[in-house]
Amino acid sequence: MRIKVVFDNYAYLWEDDLYVKTYLSSIKISSISTLVCLLIGYPMAYAIVRSSHTTKHVLLMLIILPFWTSFLLRVYAWMGLLADQGTINDLLIALGIIDEPIRLLYTHFAVYVGIVYTYLPFMILPLYANMEKLDWTLLEAAEDLGARPLTTFITVTLPMTMPGVIAGSLLVFIPATGEYVIPDLLGGGNVLMIGRILYNEFNSNIDWPVASAVAIALLLVLVLPMMLYQYMQGKEYDAQ
């Protein structure tokens, strides 16, 4: 076997604007999904931390349970909900909000829902782990000193929970950027994501050099967030 080094495959990625577009689209989809996960997950994690011992245990188990069931089947579940004859369209028609089914499956919206749904536990659990170690008396102190709830949240709660926010966001953002199953099953042909392009280059086009170039380019996008995550885990670990 002889190996000749060429950069043609990378030049090809750069020249064909489909690839550039797909990168930007992947990053946009995973950033927005991460933000939505944070907006849903933050109050949930907060509520779990502040609940009583048994409730906390039950809620945590309810969050972890979907993680142990099949990822693929949870994505499949949304195909049934979002289909033209699916549950959501039926419900909206029965309520008289719409007359004809609206297209939900095979849209960007479906991909966002799928990513938020499957990655939500990855956001909640690091947030919970961080919030559980917090010194809640600081919040009471801020309140006693006359801070308004919003001020307390912005100046005390949010900075204290920042490590959890960052860890959770990275755990959603990194795998979501390379996601393949969700855009394939819920996005149809309309949604451009890099994981799908890579898989198709490998599987349908059988162009392994280009697939490898796509993989390396994806890795370049993700290497900074991945190093940040490792750095934070290391700091957490040393603190123990």
Partner: protein
């Protein structure tokens, strides 16, 4: 925002979140009992899709292949991951420790498409040079699964070791036990719950993996997720709903049982602690 308003908001946030997580799974189960062939159109109650499922030969083959891979994977991943965790926590700061710990945790966040493609290229290059693995299937999928499962085990073992007091190990050493003996008689039994958790996690990760298996599999070797995926790509299928229902119920039973045992142990632990506290007063 008053206190009551705030707790009202938090309560609705939790309810919304839990509903969001569970309604799709409940609908999946409901439609598995649908008589109609078109999944979201209700045609009456029926269990016929379970019959279709149990008679399907390819499904049984895929289930048995997936279970075999998951079992072998879980055993190897637990052994290798435990060794890696022990090395990283108990051997101090040896040369290249940072590199090793980085390499161990990288698979946890690496997108699956990258892991899958790189493993496939590795297997192809190996075949070119040493003639092994001559065909892709059970062996290559199992090796691929071990490489990422052991990372999860190593993380579990690391955090357990970090939270574990070293006094028992030190006591054994002071009494003249050799390092290997300390490992077998003291450290490993203390690590057993972590190893069990790692084994179960590896088993589940392997059963759930679609992407990496699709990359490194060869003709004839179809795991359960690969089979499910090839069917649902073409649309909704009631027999897949039946299969999903069985998987969800088995997992739920397992998680509830584990949760119950953990809660009971914790209660007992707290009770013992409060009793010793009272005695010492």
């Amino acid at each position: 925002m008053s206190n009551r308003k705030r707790s009202g908001f938090l309560f609705s946030a939790v309810c919304f979140g839990i509903a969001f997580l569970y309604i799709p799974m409940i609908m999946l189960i409901v439609y598995s009992f649908n008589k109609s062939k078109i999944v979201p159109v209700w045609g009456g109650f029926s269990t016929k899709w379970y019959g279709v499922l149990f008679e399907s030969e390819p499904i049984w083959e895929a289930v048995s292949l997936s279970l075999k891979i998951a079992t072998v994977n879980a055993c190897f991943a637990t052994i290798l991951g435990t060794l890696a965790g022990l090395a990283l926590v108990r051997f101090g700061s040896f040369k290249g420790r940072t590199l090793f710990s980085g390499m161990i945790s990288a698979p946890l966040v690496m997108p699956e498409v990258i892991t899958g493609l790189s493993l496939l290229l590795l297997f192809i290059t190996l075949k070119e040079f040493i003639g092994w693995p001559d065909k892709r299937g059970f062996t290559t999928i199992t090796i691929a699964h071990i490489t990422f499962s052991m990372a999860y085990v190593a993380v579990i073992i690391q955090s357990r070791l970090a939270g574990m007091a070293q006094d028992l190990e030190e006591a054994a050493q002071d009494l003249g036990a050799k390092p290997f003996r300390v490992l077998i008689d003291i450290t490993l039994p203390l690590l057993a719950p972590g190893m069990l958790a790692g084994w179960l996690l590896s088993f589940t990760l392997s059963l759930d993996d679609l992407i990496i298996a699709s990359f490194v599999s060869g003709p004839g070797a179809v795991t359960l997720p690969m089979l499910i995926y090839s069917r649902v790509r073409l649309g909704l299928r009631p027999d897949i709903n039946a299969l999903a229902t069985i998987i969800i119920l088995v997992v739920a039973a397992g998680v509830l049982l584990a949760g119950y045992i953990m809660l009971r142990q914790q209660r007992q632990h707290e009770l013992e602690q409060s009793m010793t506290a009272e005695e010492s007063l």
